[in-house]
């Protein structure tokens, strides 16, 4: 039997039970749609992470206090008190691959402006920090080195803090209170979004001079981290090594002993983030894949029902000359038509839900042609795989028995 005739017979058999066929396809529709949407969410997240990482600043190397686990990098930083201001000075002075460095320490504080208050992270640093992290200001100016030397009560606020304390009003020149101390707002930062490695809101922050933070807010001299800018992207590995050697020396760590600090460069962080988003994509895709398999089982089920219902038809076809192959091809085609149709609708459904996720949740969702192609192929494969057994069953029927079937 030629392919066109097989297709026509398959189409007819399927359209004879429209509701049943549609319900059967629903499983594949949801499966394919879910694969496309989930892979889209995963890839969108990964893309967003990559953007955030490059937004972190050029050639950035992070040094934080803490220890490295044997298994890999530990994410919680600032656990141990080991970094001091002089470490930062030494890094700038002695590491050839380092262009600039800025200190960092922080304290969680209640911040008040007028009747509004906001609980946020107050970070102490120096003016070059904004340059190292490529972080531009939306309004005003950063605080200055003289501000640092004088431990002045000046602040540069992040976008989230601006929104929560000032709404639409202009914060520059206003005075906010941190721990009951008045601080003059000198600058407002542009939004930077969530951080790559921990998903924190990076804009929920207030920057003050490091000296001000240490003397007036925390009362200690430890640094949580040092942000370093290497002279070039290629130099960031060299910088990492120089810093490690320097700090081990300064902290008098003997060979074989663990570091009491962590040095990470952007590439490491990017890789880490990339890996975790790949794992997430895979996880989402496999969950969606399971529903595709469930859809396939639905097809198998309905095909088995159909074979039983049409036993007599199969007998007639065999009696007038259909071979086992003819019958098998017939039912296999029906299963594949079901699953491919489901796949086609599922692709539309997947694209639709991707757009909806972007619209409703604001997530970046990537509609990738590769995912669509894979989903389409997969739905065809599901049809073949789950259609095979019912088709085989139909082909193996004994024509005499089949003709006698009521």
């Amino acid at each position: 039997m030629d392919f066109l005739s097989i297709l026509r017979v398959a189409w007819r058999a399927l359209s004879r039970n429209k509701l049943r066929s549609s319900l059967t396809m629903l499983g594949v529709i949801i499966g394919v749609g879910a694969v496309i949407a989930m892979v889209g969410v995963g890839q969108g997240a990964s893309q967003a992470v990559q953007q955030q990482i490059s937004a972190m600043g050029s050639n950035v190397v992070f040094v934080s206090s803490g220890t490295v686990n044997r298994g890999g990098l530990r994410l919680g930083w600032g656990q141990t008190k080991s970094l001091v201001y002089d470490d930062m000075r030494a890094i700038v002075r002695e590491c050839a691959a380092v262009r600039a460095a800025a200190p960092g320490a922080s304290s969680a504080e209640q911040v008040v402006f007028g009747n509004d208050n906001w609980f946020t992270n107050v970070q102490g640093t120096e003016p070059q920090y904004f340059d190292i992290r490529d972080w531009t200001l939306a309004a005003g100016v950063p605080f200055t080195q003289p501000d640092v030397e004088a431990a002045a009560n000046v602040a540069v606020i992040g976008n989230t803090v601006r929104q929560n304390l000032f709404g639409a009003a202009d914060p520059v020149g206003q005075t906010i209170r941190i721990k009951d101390l008045p601080f003059r707002v000198v600058g407002v930062l542009n939004a930077k979004g969530q951080s790559a490695h921990m998903g924190q809101d990076q804009d929920d922050v207030i920057f003050v001079p490091i000296t001000t933070l240490q003397k007036k807010l925390t009362g200690d001299t430890w640094l949580r981290f040092i942000v370093v800018s290497a002279v070039s992207r290629q130099a960031s590995y060299a910088a990492q090594q120089e810093i490690t050697a320097l700090l081990r020396d300064r902290h008098r760590i003997r060979p074989g002993q663990d570091d009491d600090f962590i040095v990470r460069n952007l590439a490491d962080i990017a890789q880490l983030a990339d890996e975790s988003s790949r794992v997430m994509t895979l996880l989402l895709a496999s969950i969606a894949g399971v529903s595709l398999i469930v859809g396939g089982i639905g097809i198998m089920n309905i095909m088995l029902v159909s074979v039983t219902e049409r036993t007599r038809e199969i007998g007639i076809r065999m009696a007038i000359g259909a071979t086992e192959d003819d019958v098998q091809r017939q039912f296999l085609t029906e299963a594949v038509v079901l699953s491919l149709l489901g796949g086609a609708v599922g692709i539309l459904f997947g694209i639709g839900s991707s757009l909806l996720i972007t619209r409703l949740l604001g997530w970046a969702v990537v509609i990738s042609p590769a995912a669509i192609a894979v989903a389409a192929l997969f739905s065809g494969a599901v049809g073949i795989f789950f259609g095979f057994y019912p088709a085989r069953k139909a082909a193996r029927l004994d024509p005499i028995e089949a003709l006698r079937f009521e």
């Binding site: 039997m1 076809r317 000359g321």
Partner: protein, 261 residues
């Protein structure tokens, strides 16, 4: 496929070497759990081209079993079956399907048409498995419907046709690939007596044109339209008689009271 002999058209059945079917000492057992049903107990018969054979016998005497063997739907448990000098036992399933498709035509008691499929499409069905092109398929299907007098019912569905008309469609379907033999298992079993005679009229005309017909019936009134009768009893052929004074179904019809419809 070399084992499949080219289908003969009904026209060339007057060749002198005219043996079409040779059955030798055929037995058929059915295993039913512990018990074993001996449905055919040594059947031997030859049927030549152009014959019109009626198989008679009580229910359970093995008629359908025998027809299924002739129709290559089943194989004998022992014995030989030669169809056009080919030993069917040597053929694989695919070759048997090809024989059913091209050499044999089936007509059943229950018509066995595909529902929700038009008369024309039902008749076309065997041509689909014969790999004919679309044009040839339609030409043949129309021609076959014309042969059974249903050219004006081509687009009707089986449910829109009377029993006799449905059986004619089934006959047209069995003819469409121009087989050598038409096998009919109680084709008039579901039909009233007048319609039965109408079907026998069709059969007689086809036989006149050279088609070999083997038909099962348990009605003596029907069997007398054939040229030869075989009587089955307990899985054996007990009698093999030529029919004397064979009536023409066409004539009989004229004598029968017309149905008002």
């Amino acid at each position: 496929m070399s084992t499949v002999v080219q289908p003969a058209s009904p026209a060339d059945t007057s060749r002198p070497t005219s043996e079409l079917i040779r059955v030798e000492e055929v037995h058929k057992y059915y295993e039913l759990g512990e018990t074993r049903v001996h449905a055919l107990r040594g059947v031997s018969v030859t049927i030549s081209r152009g014959e019109f054979v009626a198989i008679m016998g009580a229910s359970g005497s093995g008629k359908s079993t025998f027809m299924n063997l002739l129709g290559c739907l089943d194989r004998p448990s022992s014995g030989r079956y030669l169809l056009e000098n080919t030993d069917v036992a040597q053929l694989d399933k695919k070759a048997l399907a090809a024989i059913r498709n091209r050499k044999l035509g089936f007509v059943f008691q229950g018509f066995n048409l595909l529902s929700r499929t038009t008369a024309l499409e039902n008749v076309e069905l065997p041509t689909l498995y014969a790999q004919l092109n679309k044009e040839e398929r339609l030409t043949r299907a129309r021609e076959a419907l014309r042969t059974v007098g249903l050219e004006d019912r081509m687009d009707h569905f089986p449910s829109q046709l009377s029993g006799g008309q449905q059986q004619r469609v089934a006959i047209a379907r069995s003819l469409v690939n121009r087989p050598s033999i038409l096998l009919a298992d109680e084709p008039t079993g579901n039909l009233d007596s007048r319609t039965s005679v109408e079907i026998m009229d069709v059969f007689q005309q086809l036989n006149d044109q050279g088609l070999t017909i083997v038909l099962v019936t348990h009605e003596p009134d029907i069997s007398r339209f054939a040229k030869r009768t075989l009587l089955f009893r307990d899985g054996k052929i007990r009698r093999d008689d030529p029919v004397a004074d064979r009536p023409r179904a066409g004539e009989v019809l004229k004598a029968l009271p017309k149905l008002e419809d």
